[in-house]
Amino acid sequence: MSDMATEEKDLGLNQDVATEGTPAAVVVNPVSQGGDAQDLKRTGRMTLYVRRFMRRPSAVFGLVVLCILILFALFGAMVCPWKYDEPDFTALAAAPSADHWLGTTIGGSDMYAMIVRGLGRSLLVGIISSTLIMIISAVLGTAIAFFEGVVEKVGMWILDMLLTIPSFLLVAMIVRSSSGTSGWLWLTIGITAFGWIGYARVIRTLTMSLRELDYIRAAKFMGVGSFRIILRHLVPNLGSVLIINTVLGVVSAVNQETALSFLGLGIKAPDTSLGTLLMNGQSSVLTAPWILLFPSAVLILLTFSVQLIGDGLRDAIDPYSRSAGKAE
């Protein structure tokens, strides 16, 4: 397998460097005249990925914004004198001022502290559920495609059946029964439990062409266990797609969290999330617009930056993407 890996790497290198615009001769050398390869400085795969990612200004912008938001969620509470669960009853629905930087809610909670907390919750729910969704859908999607025959038929039927009822309705039913501080955990479980199905179908389609490849057959005929083939050969070969989907999945998970909390079905007081803050803001659109505006701005920044990173990653590492080849 190690030979296979290096060959693949060389091939990958060929394409990569060619798109970089370096003279083709330099690329051909290491392959055709193996001996001289030592003199050449090879460009590693990661370096290429990073370089391609950094070539897109929008992707770099997204990365910077996301880093700032994460730092804000982690350490933002330290610079603020107020806590998200300690309302200031002397300032109810107060406009932004020196005392309360982003104003207060109707209940007197400091908006800055609430947003830091809410952003943290939204990020946590988004990242955890998106990661779990991708793990589950990768294993099940490849397994359904790998076993073929009856397993594939039954598996696809079950996936289609699960997709019949919109997952949003099912998540709402589950999350409803949760309350208080464990709400975010239930929300994560709910979003994960019904979020993997669509992705599993996509991954199954991708695996259908992978399973015909020689190294998979070779592994099969050598007697490698099915589970091992799935985990060691199939899933890693979908790695780039999985990483991209995980990043973009954060956007949809955050959107779902926002929607459910906004309807009053997700995270509830005393805990808070950006969706919960929007719900609070809705009731006082006329009198206290800042309760609505600041969480909205943070939400758009969050989802937009993640989307830009995802698009940048797709161009940098997706072997199936056709968008990379046409760069000017």
Binding site: W157, D160, M161, L162, L163, T164, I165, P166, F168, L169, L170, A172, M173, I174, R176, S177, V251, V254, N255, T258, A259, F262, L263, G264, L265, G275, L278, G281, Q282, V285, L286, P289, L292, L293, S296, L299, I300, T303, F304, V306, Q307, L308, D311, R322, K326, E328
Partner: protein, 327 residues
């Protein structure tokens, strides 16, 4: 063709039955109608709680399988989808809200398709030019903006406009408020109500058509038969219109058929923001009231819509694309 459709239909009916049953068990496991009474003050006596729950067939002291078969028998024999905890039949409640949902969603879906597909074609022809990049950026922004944020920001903007002009140009709640008999005024009133939720739904809905149509058209634009058409001497526009566009519309048609499902549940947030009494809002109410039968009824209805869309997509795909083998 008929045989193919019938086979799909039978498969979908079985699928729907399993999915609805699963939803029923899920709802029964996670929703707790008893808690509605427990939080009342003074708390009603245990026996009376049990009696009301028994009447609606949602008593958690009855085994769930017994409840399930009672519920199933009601549907099969008398098309009775059960009662809410307040002893209201849920099926008429769902039926009465379908028309509001359709009014709201029909216009915006048509607009989304028209705007999305034309933008997709427009940007695909101008790939990587500034128009393409600008429109892509706008669409990406709408793609990631949560519906609640978009709706609330539009409400905020509208209130500012109404205040600035001093008259009520747009209404931000409901679908109707005019009571008189004048048709012209009634239509104007309806338009004043519908325009804002429509803007929100179109902004959310068109993005998908734009981005996918762009990809599909770019795929076909580089196909051999389009190059042949160009080689024969057709101009780029003719080649695209007559050869590339037609094939690239096939996946979009399937997309449209599938969107029938999201029509009824996709507007939950918009209905909440604009206080429109449609299916989405009713669903939120059923969840908040622990109304098991009501929630399952809506889930079943949206399941029917999904599969109707899937069946329509199957038929359209088979009809449009001769490459799909029916057997």
């Amino acid at each position: 063709m008929i045989k193919y459709i019938i086979r799909r239909l039978v498969n979908y009916v079985i699928m729907l039955f399993v999915a609805i049953s699963m939803t029923y068990f899920l709802a029964s496991a996670f929703m707790d109608p008893r808690s509605n009474y427990m939080s009342r003050n003074p708390r009603p006596p245990e026996a009376s709680i049990d009696r009301s729950l028994d009447l609606a067939n949602i008593n958690d002291k009855t085994p769930v399988l017994v409840r399930y078969f009672n519920w199933l028998k009601g549907i099969v024999t008398e098309w009775n989808w059960g009662l809410s905890p307040d002893q209201e039949p849920v099926a008429p409640a769902v039926a009465s809200r379908i028309s509001s949902s359709v009014q709201l969603v029909a216009i915006s879906t048509v607009l989304s398709i028209i705007i999305g597909v034309s933008l997709g074609v427009y940007t695909a022809i101008r790939q990587y030019k500034w128009q393409d990049r600008a429109l892509n950026a706008v669409s990406t922004l709408f793609l990631v903006t949560p519906a609640a944020v978009l709706g609330l920001l539009i409400v905020l903007g509208t209130i500012a406009i109404n205040n600035a002009t001093g008259t009520r140009i747009f209404y931000v709640t409901g679908l109707h408020s005019y009571e008189g008999g004048n048709i012209g005024l009634a239509i104007l009133d309806f338009l004043q109500h519908i325009i804002l939720p429509t803007i929100v739904l179109v902004c959310i809905g068109y993005v998908n058509y734009h981005l996918t149509q762009r990809t599909y058209l770019l795929d076909t634009m580089n196909a051999d038969y389009v190059r042949t058409a160009r080689a024969k001497g057709l101009t780029l526009n003719q080649a695209i219109r007559k050869h590339a566009l037609r094939t690239s519309l096939i996946p979009t048609t399937t997309n449209i058929a599938f969107s029938i499902a999201s029509i009824f549940t996709g507007a939950v947030i918009t209905e909440t923001v604009f206080a429109i009494n449609g299916l989405g809002r009713y669903f939120v109410t059923t969840i908040q009231d622990n109304d098991i039968n009501g929630a399952v009824c809506i889930a079943a209805f949206s399941g029917v819509c999904t599969l109707a869309g899937a069946l329509l997509a199957d038929i359209l795909a088979a009809w449009l694309d001769p490459r799909i083998r029916l057997n």
